[in-house]
Amino acid sequence: MKWLGIALIAAAFLLPPFLAGDFYINLASQILIAAIFALSLNLLVGFGGMTSLGHASYLGVAAYISALLTSRYGFGHGAAALISIGGTVAMAALFGVIALRATGLGFLMITLALSQVLWGLAYRMSDITNGDNGVSGLTRPAPFGISLENPVAFYWFVLIVAVIAFATMAIFVSSAFGSSLQGVRDQPRRMAALGFNPWMIRWITFVYAGFWAGISGLLYVYYNKYIHPTSLSTTSSAEALLGVIAGGSGTLGGPVVGAALVLLLKNYVSAYVERWNMLLGLVFLFIVLVMPAGIVPGVTRLIANLGRRSR
């Protein structure tokens, strides 16, 4: 049963390039990018108990650094990617020191304030970031001489990164360190009494989550070949958080499912109505009031109940 499930999931990710048209392949790439981003946020929200409302900062900053370096300053993609990830991780390290002075709601408010400040900077520092016009005319990299301009090639590239991301994050949370992280989430004082350093565990997780958010930001800017301050906005952070919570925070599959749902909703709904923000707000209300544990835990429980009944 379990192996059948894994085979089905693998097929769902491996088959699109052979069956679907460019539109759906691009959609699948976007879903994978959103999934990496949501998984990184889930490390904080689900496993660390640190609800961040500023996670888009890392995606946006990585994307902006890469975009500006390649388009303005003539850097190659490899160097730009390294600098952008390095810069993002350094920023996460700094922001982590600031935000982790508080926990709970204080943490949430500080991350929100920090990300709003970055969003404001992206808008106002228009000689560097080009302000509301965004940075356009970007290119995709060509690793090992394979151009990623073609949707199928890009999908394979994103899929490889996504599998690595999923695997390393799965190892991260199931490792001894991951257990201590969950211990700190549930019983910080007890963990401190046992000799762990809760602050350090939280901070390392914060930086690690920033790293993967930066990777998803690179993929994001490669996909869109364009970056705009909206990517840094609260809406962008909130979409990812909605994905994590809708799918089921603290599970590995949940954020992937949630991110896919949010993205599909956004794509299909914006084809008919322009009111995405209002819908996002309504979905937030719906999920929190009706399905607080998220879809994946909810469905898992449903299946478990059915299995018990049929026996």
Binding site: T51, L53, I98, R101, A102, G104, L105, G106, L108, M109, I110, L112, A113, L114, Q116, V117, W119, G120, L121, R124, M125, D127, S233, T234, T235, A238, L241, L242, I245, R275, N277, M278, L280, G281, L282, V283, F284, L285, I287, V288, L289, P292
Partner: protein
Amino acid sequence: MQFWIIQGLNSLSLGGLLFLLSSGFSLIFGLMRLANLTHGAFFMLGTYFGATALRAWDGLNLWITALGAGLVVAAIGGLFERLVLTRLRGNTLGQVLVTLGMSFIIADGCLVLWGGDSIPVPTPQSLQAPTRLFGFVFPTYRLVLVGCAVVAAVALYYLLERTRLGAMIRAGVDDRQMARAVGIPVSNLFTIVFCLGAGIAGAGGVLGGPILSAYPGLDADMLPLALIVVILGGIGSLLGAFIGSFIIGFIYTFGSALFPELSYIILFLPMILVLAFRPQGLFGRVVT
């Protein structure tokens, strides 16, 4: 010299506006342990109501408009608290997410109703003439705004420290369960405080209108300032919100005037300093 004095006054008036915004936020947080992310949207809603009313009826009194808009926003806040937030008692994360969702709904609703262009709010005619003091010329309205904030601060102080309702609120802030045990209707207090906070934000939105004008994104501009104010002043402290508002008012105004591109980074500094040396904020208590 004129530059410094005018910018000083601008700082004071921005500080006044920030106090109207952050006092309610702080009050709600203190009692309900709820980070109300709808607060910026309540402020913006007030500004739009004020803009619409003042442009529709020529010569409408600004104070009556502010009162009216405050009442309407308070009613909206009260409904939201009763219908949604009460269902999520004890679920802190859920409450925050719901207020965030609500802020998206209100912001997008404003965009639908009032469109994407910014709507200027007229300054009342009686306050348009500049005031001359000590040989300097001041825009009268900004002086009045500072006065409003001081009046609001005194009124709130009186309400909290000298009335029965205030005593019940303070009891609820200090020990919610004990307050409930001695018969204080804490649940009703939550609604009252939420309405009050939303109402002050709404009225503040109207009063801020002539300076800021109503535009989409006003909520996203104001909310982080309010967050920084309360982080700086101490969450749940009225005095902290008051002092913090004026500190941020000064830093933001002078920052924008002297280093326009860096004004947002300069906002970081007081917050980082306070968090480094006094994480509970200047006037905050350690929440257990």
